[in-house]
Symmetry: C2
Subunit: 339 residues, 2 copies
């Protein structure tokens, strides 16, 4: 493996008999050179297979045409879809993308931010994650757009998010209009804004139809011990299934939870959707293939990604604050066989 030295602008200049400045000009097409020299230089570049050293360019220009993405868990379907979409439009815009998987670790997140800044990234996209770190301080010195991650009010940071409130509302309304009166929300113990909003939507829908939301309406699973998640759901649900006024509708905050719930219910001996109806969230591929196929809320990944990119690139290139700093994109009910 011979790492042959790469050819630089200087070589090109020597070979074609002009100065480095001139070479630089024709490469960047800045004008101020004759057609003849252009031809000459381009020919040499072609022959030598010269390629720009973006490290040097970045150092000189103080920008890298690179943007960073912080994502908590790339193996999560929704996240990876968003990332993939973002990467695609950014690529079109001429930006490279550094995807950083923070594994929900605050330390890793900080380390990555440091690394990204030292790489002179032009902008940063932060997807979800817990909001207790200071994106705000960050956005003072760097264009930042967040996706599904609440930030301080006085922030320069832009926020793009799914309408989790509406999602929670529509999901719950689906349960109700399909005939379920005794509904609960199956949620998790965390402080994600998306979780909070979905709960609000649930409550609002309940209220609209004159249904109460009590402590009993909320079952929150602790995600710390993943292995027993299924057990946790089981022990929370079983006693509530047997009673006179048993649970007849479940809005689960994500599809994984929903599917676990479905299993528990089926094992208990109840029918879905006749005895109890279930709605999930995220439209994970598993919701299409599980049994029975799961009614769920679908994110509009395409517009989330494009809005995020549009906002970020806008503020990078104009170096000015954009018109809207908060976009909320609707989610859509996908009706399948659990309601």
């Amino acid at each position: 493996m011979s790492r042959e030295k790469k050819i630089s602008i200087k070589e090109i200049a020597n070979i074609s008999g002009v100065s480095v400045a001139t070479v630089s000009r024709v490469i960047n097409d800045n004008g101020r050179f004759s057609a003849e020299t252009k031809r000459k230089v381009l020919k040499v570049i072609e022959e030598t297979g010269y390629e720009t050293n973006y490290i040097a360019k970045s150092l000189r220009m103080n920008k890298s045409n690179t943007i960073g993405i912080l994502v908590p868990d790339i193996s999560n379907t929704f996240f990876s879809n968003v990332v993939q979409e973002i990467e695609s439009v950014l690529f079109e815009d001429g930006y490279a993308t550094i995807i950083c998987n923070t594994a929900r670790s605050k330390e890793k997140e900080q380390a990555y931010i440091k690394m990204l800044k030292s790489k002179m990234i032009d902008g940063l996209i932060v997807i979800s994650g817990f909001s207790d770190f200071e994106t705000d301080d960050l956005s003072e010195s760097l264009p930042v757009v967040c996706i599904d991650r609440k930030i301080k009010l006085n922030s320069h940071t832009i926020l793009i998010e799914s309408n989790h409130y509406q999602g929670g509302f529509d999901a719950t309304e689906e349960l109700i209009t399909k005939g379920s009166k005794n509904n609960i929300i199956l949620t998790q113990h965390n402080r994600l804004s998306s979780t909070v909003e979905r709960l609000s939507g649930f409550k609002a829908a309940q209220k609209k139809y004159g249904l109460p939301t009590t402590d009993n309406s909320i079952i929150a699973i602790d995600m710390n011990k993943n292995h027993s998640r299924s057990e946790a759901i089981k022990s929370a649900l079983y006693p509530r299934l047997a009673t006179e006024e048993g649970i007849s509708g479940i809005f689960a905050i994500n599809d994984r939870l929903a599917i676990e719930a479905v299993r528990v219910i089926l094992n208990f001996g109840l029918k879905i959707p006749s005895d109890v109806k279930v709605v999930g969230f995220d439209d994970d591929p598993i919701s299409r293939y599980c049994y029975p196929p799961l009614t769920t809320m679908q994110h509009n990944v395409g517009v989330i990604a494009s809005k995020a990119c549009q906002a970020l690139v806008g503020i990078i290139q104009q170096s000015t604050d954009p018109l809207t700093s908060h976009e909320v994109v609707p989610v859509k009910l996908i009706r399948r066989e659990t309601t």
Copy 2:
């Protein structure tokens, strides 16, 4: 948003009243400075919040402590798991990771390689993808390790892959030992080495048990038109299900295909696994939750990732060829309810 100028080594030098050389020495702990100056400089660094500019460092050192990953489709579960794992160990080793989603586009792949080289990446990991591009030329000038991607024999490139042959063999043997005599392989039209190997495994297992592999044993779906994939499987399978000597076992080359096949069979009115048995490949999460839960082959993502990183980092740091240039890691049968 005030992009305040970042502080450099020069400032540190001025403030602490030493030269830039000295500052650089204490930062890199190269010795040749007094304890006193060290203390002094470190204090200033602390106070000012100085952070190394890795762009400049990279330019000077001709290395970036960054490695690139080329992945065809980050939303594919297996790929995203591998990437996540790789990212994790590389992070521990002090390397940043640039994940590039090539979307199976040759143009994008080339563009990304160009970009990565110009960013002075220290190494490259290529996951799957079609083998008709020249990783070989690449590996002349850059440490490269491939995962599940066949390359030319004379190559410097290292290859880590799942044992697709063994996977195909074990999957098929599972069908046979569970009582199925009339087996087919459900595959796709592509030239991926993994596809080819799985087919070989299928044939070998058939042969071992005195079962023939004819043209009729192979059903290859065209993936071009995704929307009609389900239809394609249906029309391929239906006529073969009705006959006297109907299909009793299907080895599907991936879980998506397997699940579609399961649906077709169920719709046809046959029982699984009593009438026909199915084995998939990849252990996608959907295989756990689909109905009935799918027997499938599980990759050992952890060792694939760690072997890949180990190999890459080894050749980067020692700048020498590693002992083994080809590692094959076993896959594991996960027995669920389709066999």
